[in-house]
Amino acid sequence: MPGLPLLLAQAFNGLALGSLLALSASGLTITLGTLGVLNFAHGALFMLGAYAVFVVLGHTDSLLLAVVLGGGFMILVGLVFERVVIRLYYDRPAEDQILVTFGLGILIVEGVRFIFGGLSQRVPLPSWGQGIVSLGFMIYPKYRLEVIGIVAIALFALYVVLYRTRIGLVVRAGIEDTMMVNMLGINVRRTFMLVFAMGVLAAGFAGMVYAPLVSVDPDMGGPFLAESFVVVVIGGLGSFPGAVAGGLIAGEIISLTSAFNPDYSYVMLYAVMALLLVVQPRGLFGPEGRA
């Protein structure tokens, strides 16, 4: 039985881990909840964000600048994908959407592998994130602490744009009745494009923030795609608050189980998801009828 200090340490780490999962899952849930598109290229876009930071950091020492430029790149990628591919699939069955985004994901991963090779790349910690902080009950990497704050701000900004501005309103109305919104003189397609780009930006931003912590390689997005889906299922398909809650819950499950037996941490995550699907098929905050 692990002692209280270790359990506290793991609970805190679960919060940090969960915030990253929440950010990663939020991009997925934005496109699902607002556009109804299941984006299986999400993991690849997460990886692309990490590589964007890696490339920019080859020319500057500023992680902040790298994130800004990388963010611009991700928005551009999102706009192009939506305009060229995704737009053609809004009215098609979910299976088609899954297949096309899955294919896009493979193209991105193999494209990156072709350009950069399979070796993992080094993204250094920013100078303001180096070192270890003592929290009394544990020591913890400073950057991971800062990431909790960065993620919280990013999630809040996303929420405000999508649910407290006219853009979000237009998108949700457009999903219900595109023709009616068009007749009101609003260009729904353009708004859809913007929202898809925001979903891509969220995935890429998670990759950028995560890059200094993990091994940046072409396959790094795979586990995040799987975990993000678990988070979205726990939180409720398409629910933004659900993604945040689901992320934090998933982080705690993984971390606290690890205190007892790390071998079972991911088993426990999937077990909880399965149990939740039995008890509450639409997840914690999933909208009615989306179960």
């Binding site: 991963v109 090779g117 080094r122 991971r144 993990v214 091994s215 390689d217 586990p223 993984i254 790390p262």
Partner: protein, 449 residues
């Protein structure tokens, strides 16, 4: 000593016609290959696979997934060896080969991405065996794949020169008559490393382990913890993590709180890089000495010399061995010239296994798998010249007996070139560290036919 095999069905047909015309008298004396080919029954892809003027090799490295960098390097090793063997000349001659190709046959090959999945590798190799009539299969960077391919090889009676595989199981409980492994087993690596780290880091140390959740991880953990037990090293934490995990924070918190003096990281490939990087960020590497029983091929390059300096571990091969062995020098130089970087040990295993197989076939005088296997099994009496000096396969479990390089990461200031990451502390003779014949760890080789 067998004679050379007949080189083609067409020629045999012509000769057979001549034999009929000549009354069948005395011809085998002048064409011994004909008699030799006729003396072996069909088995696996013999003789169909070598009926023409070429022989086919099926290669399945992981070109995607967590070990893709190692897989690409592995593939380049095969390509270099095959190109050299086909071209003939001084390099293959130095290994003991005669002329161009193997027994005069050009080697052909195809490379398929195993995606680091045993079932994908088995599927691809089955296709190579059935459609391309592969006479030898090889290539992997995972013991799980290695074991699956060994089973396939045994079933299909096609030789498998195992690629990268460190698990003991490959040549113990899952050993096969048709599988031969050149990489040191986990037991060999741990037994070579144990005394070195005990001397350097002291006795009675507490060790925390990060263990990837598959046969390789468990095998290395068992071997290293056993090898260091006699020095009073004890396990305070064993963190089993899935392959391909990105975040090791939960496991590292347990390790940081374990009270250990030594952090033994068994994760491999990109997982090793991510976990070491995070261990550094969690302050684990400041509190504990890092030991990596099997250092991944590109780990130092990916992590940087700062983290890897002082780290103890073992390799299959490190490029500075070119100073000790002439064939290693040729390998490193020709690989560097072709690919613009010095080879890692993934490439080395591919290169060495291909050459050793080719030499064994020529010694056997036939591609007939049983004779090739028996030649490899008899190599203790007549070891192969190789990139590691004289090496041979043990007949009882098909593990190569070869020296094990024990290395330590250099301080950045001590590096003479940008890829001069390691000092070779010792080349521990294979005979000293291989498990004894009285303990084959459950190996029961299958049948020849």
């Amino acid at each position: 000593m067998k004679n050379r095999q007949s080189s083609g069905l067409g020629r045999r047909s012509v000769l057979a016609a001549g034999l009929a015309a000549g009354g069948g008298l005395g011809l085998p004396l002048f064409f011994p290959g004909l008699a030799e080919a006729a003396s072996y029954p069909p088995l696996g892809n013999f003789p169909a696979g070598v009926a023409g003027d070429s022989a086919f090799i099926g290669i399945t490295p992981p070109l995607t997934g967590a070990y893709s960098a190692d897989g690409k390097d592995h593939a380049l090793g095969y390509q270099l060896a095959i190109a050299q063997i086909n071209a003939g000349g001084a390099i293959p001659a130095a290994w003991g080969l005669k002329g161009k190709g193997v027994l005069g046959k050009t080697l052909r090959y195809k490379i398929a991405d195993s995606e680091l999945k045993p079932n994908v590798a088995v599927q691809a190799q089955t296709q190579f065996i059935e459609q391309d009539h592969a006479i030898m299969i090889t290539g992997c960077v995972s013991s799980a794949t290695a074991i699956a391919l060994e089973e396939l090889a045994q079933r299909m009676k096609v030789l498998n020169m195992v690629g990268c595989s460190g698990s003991n199981d490959t040549t113990s409980k899952d050993c096969q008559r048709y599988g031969f492994r050149s990489q040191p087993s986990a037991h060999m690596a741990a037994t070579a490393l144990g005394p070195v780290v005990a001397k350097a880091l002291g006795s009675n140390r507490k060790v925390a382990y990060l263990v990837p959740d598959y046969t390789y991880g468990f095998s290395v953990f068992d071997s290293f913890s056993n090898a260091t037990k006699k020095y009073g090293w004890t396990t305070t934490s064993k963190q089993v993590v899935p392959v391909g995990a990105a975040d090791y924070s939960s496991a590292l918190i347990n390790i940081a709180n374990s009270g250990a003096d030594i952090f033994c990281n068994i994760a491999f490939g990109n997982d090793a890089v991510a976990s070491c990087k995070q261990a550094d960020q969690f302050g684990v590497l400041k509190k504990m000495k890092l030991v990596v029983p099997n250092i991944s091929a590109f780990q130092a390059q990916e992590l940087g010399a700062k983290i890897m300096s002082g780290v103890y571990g073992t390799f299959d091969f490190w490029w500075t061995l070119e100073d000790r062995y002439p064939l290693a020098k040729t390998f490193v130089e020709t690989f560097d010239a072709a690919n613009k970087y010095r080879p890692s040990w993934g490439a080395h295993i591919a290169y060495m296994q291909t050459y050793v197989w080719a030499v064994a076939v020529e010694r056997a005088g036939t591609f007939y798998p049983v004779e090739v296997i028996k030649t490899l099994e008899a190599s203790k009496a007549d070891p192969f010249d190789s990139t590691l000096g004289k090496v041979w396969y043990r007949a009882e479990d098909h593990q190569m007996v070869r020296p094990v390089p024990v290395v330590q990461g250099k301080m950045p200031a001590d590096m003479k070139t940008k890829d001069d990451y390691f000092n070779i502390l010792e080349m521990v003779p294979g005979e000293q560290v291989i498990n004894p014949l009285t303990d084959l760890m459950g190996c029961k080789l299958g049948t020849y036919t």
